[in-house]
């Protein structure tokens, strides 16, 4: 749950380059972003621009080449465990039943399996996975797998959850269904979320703030506040203000990809 004041996440002047035998690749040039407790902040940008890299640094899987990451107000060198991370693919462990995938963060933190199960059972029941608790991951549809992966992410009640393109691999209908679901879960749990997407409608529907990134190396091109009322319902997508925001975001995204690469070499911005 959120703590109420201050910032849950603050990224200041983040840069990241990778060096290998092939040379140095700059993935992220300069990214600033922040999220207040309970907010959902989205990173959007062309594919390959460095979005996952930003989250990998925030999660502590990588160290930044420059800049700072503050989680819950303080800079920690070892950020592993300071936030909960949901990788681009769901990464459910095939050898653990659905409920045991969800309890994973609790068990690794030292809970007994039985106590951890008791703790997450209401969560599963409340959010549509009750009948699947004892199933193996292969028995789940893509949408259900993503629900399980998300519940695993919030099971330990993290101060910050990082979702990297959580619905990227799903079909349109399931995707809209899950966006609705995520919106409802968040309204109830109040988890602060960082989201990566390249889907404009998804960004508008879910976010409080959208940070638009340029093509690689990523830089912040624009920040868009989404001031639609909450909680949002599927019908809100039909509203004029929703369409306006989508158009504006699409426009910003197009400008962002052109600004850094130039019109000739621009990749088509995803839509």
């Amino acid at each position: 749950m959120s703590t109420g004041t201050g910032t849950a996440l603050e990224v200041v002047g983040l840069a990241k380059s990778f060096t290998s035998d092939q040379g140095t690749v700059q993935a992220v040039r300069r990214v600033d972003m922040s999220a207040r407790p309970g907010e959902l902040v989205t990173l959007i940008g062309p594919s390959g621009c460095g979005k996952s890299t930003v989250f990998n640094v925030v999660a502590g899987l990588e160290q930044p080449s420059a800049g700072e990451v503050r989680i819950g107000g303080s800079v920690v060198a070892d950020r592993l465990g300071a936030s909960a991370y949901m990788p681009q693919r769901d990464a459910l462990l095939p050898w653990r039943r659905v409920i045991d995938n969800v309890t994973l963060p609790l068990v690794l933190a030292g809970s007994s399996p039985a106590a951890a199960r008791r703790q997450v059972e209401p969560l599963l029941r409340r959010f549509g996975l009750g009948d699947f608790a004892r199933a193996w991951p292969w028995q789940l549809s893509g949408g259900m797998r993503h629900r399980a992966a998300f519940l695993r992410t919030v099971a330990a009640e993290p101060g910050l959850a990082l979702l990297d393109e959580p619905f990227g691999a799903l079909d349109g209908i399931t995707r809209a269904d899950l966006q609705q679901w995520l919106s409802a879960v968040r309204a109830e749990l109040g988890t602060t979320v960082g989201l990566v997407t390249h889907d404009v409608a998804e960004a508008v529907f879910l976010s409080d703030v959208v940070v638009v990134l340029t093509a690689r190396p990523a830089e912040v091109a624009a920040v868009l506040e989404v001031d639609l009322p909450r909680p949002r319902e599927a019908e809100d997508r039909e509203r004029a203000s929703f369409g306006d925001l989508e158009r504006r975001l699409r426009h910003l995204l197009r400008e962002a990809s052109w600004a850094s690469v130039g019109p000739g070499a621009a990749e088509r911005p995803p839509d």
Partner: protein, 273 residues
């Protein structure tokens, strides 16, 4: 979404991948086998081959059954050697694979030696082992293990390295220790390839035990076959019988490992044939 809830209950979760009827799988090889045995019998009858050169299958079955009091303890001895040798191989191979996966030094220093160890002709070691350790079953177990640990090590090393990167990263963000990573992700990822290696080893196990017994032993199928082939008159029928028993025992062991594999990995969908 409500409609999807019934998915978990039955085996019909993934349509079309249910078990194939057993007969469809067993019938073709069984028919080929029966035809081959029939042809064999026919050849021995038509050409009147001497039973000391090529006994017919009927004779083999009858004499082997008649000699079961001698064959059974031989088979038991060799089975103990084969199974114990495999167990020893697993007990050595798995920690070795884990240490190779764990440390760069072990990978650089040990893995090439493991590979090189396979260039040593293990059959040639058998006499040496008899000279050093005598005629008992212990040295045979060691030789079987030496023969069979390599596929298991290779399978386990590859399996451990095949662990999903996303899953490893995910557990790192949960502050998993190296041991937790090994136990929760790498080891379960490695199991299928470990079993593939073990299955390959199973097909060697009896043969290598028998070869070791040829060189010097007091009991076992190798001794039994030696005795049968040197008897006067030659008991070629019993050599065939012992060979058949070895084949059956190997198949049984193979199926047993397949069963263990299924029990060890209950999470896998029942889709393979």
């Amino acid at each position: 979404m409500k409609a999807g809830l019934s998915l978990v209950a039955g085996e019909s979760v993934v349509p079309g991948v249910g078990r194939r009827p057993g007969a469809r799988r067993w019938l073709p090889p069984a028919l080929v086998l029966i035809a081959a045995v029939g042809l064999w019998q026919l050849v021995t009858v038509v050409f009147g081959t001497s039973p000391t050169i090529l006994p017919g299958p009927a004779l083999v079955v009858v004499s082997t059954w008649a000699d079961r009091a001698d064959l059974a303890p031989a088979l038991a001895t060799t089975t103990v050697e084969a199974v114990a040798g495999l167990a020893l191989a697993v007990a050595v191979a798995v920690p070795l694979a884990i240490s190779i996966d764990w440390s760069r030094t072990a990978r650089a220093g040990v893995y090439p030696l493991v590979v090189a160890s396979q260039t040593v002709p293990v059959i040639a070691l058998a006499p040496l082992v008899v000279i050093w350790f005598g005629f008992g079953e212990g040295p045979k177990i060691g030789l079987v293990a030496l023969f069979s640990f390599f596929p298991i090590v290779v399978g386990a090393v590859q399996g451990l390295a095949s662990a999903d990167r996303d899953a490893v990263d995910l557990l790192r963000t949960m502050r998993a220790s190296r041991w937790q990573l090994l136990w929760r992700v790498r080891w379960p990822s490695a199991l299928p390839q470990c079993f593939t290696g073990l299955k390959i080893s199973v097909t060697y196990a009896y043969t290598s035990a028998i070869v070791a017994e040829y060189v010097g032993a007091t009991q076992g199928l190798g001794v039994y076959m030696n005795a049968a082939s040197q008897a006067a008159p030659r008991r070629t029928d019993l050599v065939f019988g012992a060979t058949g028993a070895t084949a059956l025992a190997t198949v049984a062991l193979f199926l047993l490992v397949g069963l263990a594999e299924r029990l060890a990995m209950p999470w896998r969908p029942p889709s393979r044939s």
